[in-house]
Structures are given as C-alpha cells and as structure tokens.
C-alpha cells in the first residue's frame, strides 16, 4: 500500500502539483468535485460506491492522495491516462475490491471514495 501511495504522490509531482495542494480544493466542494472529466456519472451511485469503499477501507489514506490528484488536475486527458495506468496496474497486481458486487481496482474505489465526499 505504501508503494502504491508513493506512486500516487509521484503522479501529483508529474502533474506539476505542489505537495501543499490547497486542502479546500482537495477536500472541499470545488475542483475535486468537478467530475466532468469522467463524463456523465450518477453521483448517487458514486456516493454509494464511495461509502462502501470507505467502509471496507476506513484507514485508506490513499483516498486523500487521489482527492489531491483530482483537485490539482489541469489536464483531464493526462489525469485520466494516469488513472488508467494505475487501474491496469492494480488489476495486474491483483489489487481489487468488491463494491456493490462490482470487482473494481483499488484506484477506482479510491476515486469513488474521493468523489463521494463531494456535497456530503
């Protein structure tokens, strides 16, 4: 998990984000809650999936890292590609979690969890 987190922090650096990302952006209701990069998503469903992830991984600090990544994103295409790489790496390494019956990668679960904090 630690290795995983370091890799995510590396992503932040690669994206040009400061490690002192504005916490309001990361955990508040603005940039991190801008889900347009993911297309049309059912936010009620996202909340349900995110809550389930947090229930299974209550100490998952990597969710914070993902939230910062999303908040710091200045290029949707690059961010999506980075997430895609992480997701494939998760599946390859067997890092998966079952949410509402869906077998998803840990990274997907963390994104759902980060997004579920919006408006909550």
């Amino acid at each position: 998990m630690q290795l995983d987190r370091r890799r995510l922090l590396g992503l932040l650096v690669a994206l040009g984000a400061s490690t002192a990302v504005n916490r309001q952006l990361a955990f508040g209701a603005s940039a991190a809650c801008d889900v347009t990069m993911f297309g049309k998503l059912d936010m009620d469903a996202i909340h349900e999936l995110g809550r389930e992830y947090l229930a299974q991984r209550p100490a998952a600090t990597e969710v914070d890292v993902i939230a910062k990544l999303l908040a710091a994103s200045q290029n949707d295409t690059e961010t999506l590609e980075q997430l895609r790489t992480e997701v494939v790496a998760d599946f390859t390494a067997g890092r998966i979690v079952n949410l509402a019956g869906w077998f998803v990668s840990e990274t997907e679960g963390r994104v759902f969890a980060a997004l579920s904090r919006c408006n909550s």
Partner: protein, 503 residues
C-alpha cells in the same frame, strides 16, 4: 417392435441375446448398434410412450444439497423433476446442448482427489465424432478456433488464463421445436432385431450363486404381474441414479450391492451447478459488443463459445474446471448497476459497451460424501426401496470458486475488456446453485475394482456379463453437458460388445 408388457401373462419369460434396461438415449443407441450387427436385443422400459405421473412417481425419494459453510437445501422434488421415465427417457426434455469433455477432464490431477479416467480425450475423439454424426452436429475439436474460425474474442490472446470452449445445440432433443428425437426413438423401436418392452420395470438383478454372472432379471409391472428376463449379456442404461439404485437393491449375493467391492457404489455423485442469482444478476461490462457475437447462444444451429479456465491456469492454481457463459446482451441499467461500467469505459477511452448476462458453471469434483443410498423402510409401488441423494459440494468447489471468479475479474480489468459484477460469497454458493439434470459418477469407471464400480469397458467389476451405460460411469464430470459423452461411450461399448456377441 413395441410390446405392452402389462398385457403378458403373469410369470412370462422374456429372452434375448442382450437385454438393455432403460429406453433412453444411451439404451436406444446401443439397441440399434447391436441390432445392426444382427444381435437380438430386448429393451426394458419402465414407462410407456408418454409421461405418466404414476410411473414418474417411482422416482420419488429424498434429497439434500449442501457444501461446507453453506446452509443445506432440501430438494426432494429434484429426483422426480430432473429425469423422465418413459420411452426416450430424459432425452424427451433435454435441451440439446452438446460439448465434449476437455482433455484435462480425463487426466489425473493430483490436486483433485479421485480424478482421472481410464481413457483419454484423444482416444474418445472418434466416438465423439460418431455421436456428433448421430446428432447432426459438426465434429468437435479441442481447439475452439478450428470450429469457429476465429480466436477467443473477449481477451483476444491477451490472457492465457481463459480459453474458448465450443458448444452446439442439436435438434435431436425432445425439448426443441422441430425436434428429430421422435425419429431417434423410431429408429430403435422399428428395428427388426429390437423388441422394446414398455411398462416393464427392472426391479432386481439376480446373480449366479458364485456372484460372477447375471442369471436373470426380475421384471415387474404396475398391474401386479411379475416376469423374468434372461439374456447372455445385460446392460443397465436407466440413468445416473437408477443404475446405482438397481445395483444397490440387488444384494442377494453381494450384500453391499453388485460391483460394490470398495464402497464406491452410489458415491462420488456429481451434478453440474449453474451459479446464478435472480435478485443479483451476474452482469459484466465489455468494451466491444461486436466482439461478443461468438458468445451468442440464440442461434441453435451455430457453434457458440463459452469461456473456460484454461488447462494451464487450472494446473497453476490447482483449480477446478469452470466456464462462464455470456449468451445474450441485457438492457441498460442504472445507478450502481452501471456506474462502474461507465467509469471504466471512460478511463479506457471506449465509446461502446455492452452489458451481458453471465452465468458460471463449476465442476463438481468426485467426493465420496456426495452419494446415493437406499431408504430401506420406504418402498415404492414396486416394493423397491426409495432413493436418497445427499449431493455435496466440497471445499474443492466452495474455496476455489471465488478465487477463480476473481481471476476472471482481474483479467477483464487488466486487459481492459470489462468489469464483472458478482455479489455472493463462498457461503452463499449452494443457495445460488441451479442444478442441471446431469447425474454422474455413482457407478464410476476405474481400471481397478478398488477405485470404481465398472472397468474401462463399462463392465461391472467382478460380474462377467453386466455392463453399465450412461453418465453414471463418469469418474469426473468436467463442465460439459454429459449427453454427447455418454453417447460416445455407448458407441464405444457397442464396438466392444459386437465382436464378442457375434462370435
């Protein structure tokens, strides 16, 4: 020729060179085979030409279904509903799905207790081909690509864990429109060398005093008349449950039943279980709907594929056989039913996706505790002890199912082919099972009497003139629907018997 046995005088003697007990798919094929060789054959069929509830009730018994850590299910009704007792047998309601067993299914797998056949997949090929010819099917190849003309499309060569397994439907099955099964029955009943005695119930096999030969059969009718039947060779072809029941009931000489030298008779009963759940459908997401066309099972005349765990993956994981069928697309969903799909599609940059109904079939491995036994104090109308089936899945299935399913989900994600939805855990497995009508293993085949009931030629160990046909001889059951294999074995048995009986 069809004969109403109830019309015969009480105490009649029925004689032929060969007597086959059971007028189902295997029995009728063997009758034709031997008849074609000029051998007089007599078939004893319990029912008439149509279903009769009184006859069908002879199948009644008790049944439970269970597995470690799972709640036991009472399934008494399955014993009546899963088979048919009239001319044509369960072929009258068979859906017609055909597939051979996989090569690994025949092999001894050191991680699966009691696995291994005395025959190989390669040695069965010619018999499978003849069974396909009989059923109007293309010949099955081990390699699905040779049949479909294309590689497995979902993983497109990116996964060594799964492989395509071919399947095809025949019209020679009672449950389909424009069925040719009536002709199948006529081919036996009109055969000049074949006499089919309807309403003739085999109730006891009488052995010689030394127990090494069948001397005669006791035949009873529901009108109270009892007859005797004699032949030089006898074949039981009454289905995967009744074959064992008759051998257990006939304990006059061998007290534990005929062929029961090592307490295998009735044990290792296997049945295929479809894993599904009505309230929580198994749904998957894919990137390309066009890629899924070879999985479509709507066109009965066309070969379709299912995904199977590859032989290499089974070896690596010390797993069991498992298939994933994705026969049709399902409509759009909403909420959490589709959101992970939408998210994954966005990440993968895919513009198309399809939701597919999916179901899983797991191999039921040989388990001595999964067994048939007699209820000695409950007799049917013919004074036969009723049957009890305690069908048991073991840790081999319950503990391996989730890891293998997770492997499928992992491969879907890793190759960006899709996502899988399956909510249930190992403790819910038995509750999610929908049992097929496949009854296998209770008179298992083994070279040595220590390990089975019949030998590699399907002859009952220790009895010179008694053979068993049908899926009860399967040592292991793989995933494939058993009919094609039991017909292939019937061809094989016919080839074995013909020169011996003609001499």
């Amino acid at each position: 020729m069809l004969i109403d046995t109830e019309q015969l005088e009480d105490g009649s003697l029925l004689e032929a060179k060969v007597i086959i007990a059971g007028g189902g798919m295997a029995g009728l094929l063997l009758a034709r085979q031997l008849g074609d060789a000029g051998i007089d054959v007599l078939v004893l069929e319990s029912g008439g030409q149509a279903q009769d509830s009184r006859v069908q009730s002879l199948y009644a018994g008790k049944m439970t279904l269970g597995g470690p850590g799972n709640a036991e299910r009472n399934m008494d009704g399955y014993l009546i509903a899963s088979r048919m007792r009239y001319l044509g047998g369960s072929g009258n309601v068979w859906g017609g799905k055909c597939a051979p067993l996989d090569p690994l299914d025949f092999e001894r797998r050191d991680w699966i207790a009691h696995s291994g056949w005395p025959v190989t997949r390669a040695s069965m090929q010619s018999f499978y081909d003849r069974a396909c010819d009989l059923l109007g099917l293309p010949h099955f190849h081990v390699d699905a690509q040779a049949m479909t003309g294309a590689p497995e499309p979902l993983f497109a060569g990116k996964s060594s864990r799964f492989t395509a397994r071919p399947r095809c439907y025949t019209r020679c099955s009672g449950a389909v429109a424009n069925s040719t099964y009536h002709d199948y029955k006529l081919a036996a009943s009109n055969h000049e060398r074949v006499r089919i005695h309807l309403k003739a119930n085999l109730t006891r096999i009488k052995l010689s005093a030394d127990g090494q030969r069948v001397a005669s059969l006791e035949v009873r009718c529901l009108n109270g008349r009892t007859h005797q039947a004699r032949a030089s060779t006898y074949i039981l072809a009454m289905g995967g449950i009744e074959n064992a029941r008759l051998l257990m009931v006939s304990n006059d000489v061998h007290r534990s039943g005929i062929g029961n030298h090592s307490d295998w008779l009735g044990r290792a009963f296997q049945g295929h279980a479809v894993i599904e759940h009505e309230q929580q459908p198994t749904v998957m997401l894919i990137r390309s709907s066009a890629a899924m066309t070879p999985f479509d099972a709507l066109d009965r005349g066309k070969v379709h594929i299912v995904l199977g765990v590859s032989d290499a993956a089974q070896r690596d994981l010390k797993g069991t056989n498992l298939t994933i069928s994705m026969p049709r697309g399902i409509g759009a969903g909403s909420g959490v039913g589709v959101t992970p799909q939408a998210f994954a599609r966005r990440l993968a940059g895919s513009k198309i996706s399809e939701r597919r109904e999916a179901y899983f079939v797991i191999e039921h491995t040989p388990n001595r505790d999964s067994r048939l036994s007699l209820i000695r104090d409950e007799l049917d109308e013919l004074q036969m002890p009723r049957i009890r089936l305690d069908m048991r899945f073991s840790a081999a299935e319950t503990e391996r199912f989730t890891p293998m399913l997770t492997m499928f989900a992992t491969e879907l994600g890793r190759t960006e082919a899709g996502r899988l939805q399956w909510r249930n855990g190992a403790a819910d497995l038995v509750a999610a099972m929908s049992l097929s009508r496949h009854h296998m293993g209770a008179t298992r085949m083994a070279v040595n009497a220590k390990n089975g009931v019949v030998d590699e030629h399907c002859r009952v160990h220790g009895v010179q003139n008694l053979y068993v046909a049908g899926s009860s001889v399967f040592p292991t059951s793989g995933i494939a629907n058993p009919t094609l294999t039991l017909l292939a074995l019937a061809f094989r048995l016919g080839d074995h018997l013909r020169p011996r009986l003609s001499a």
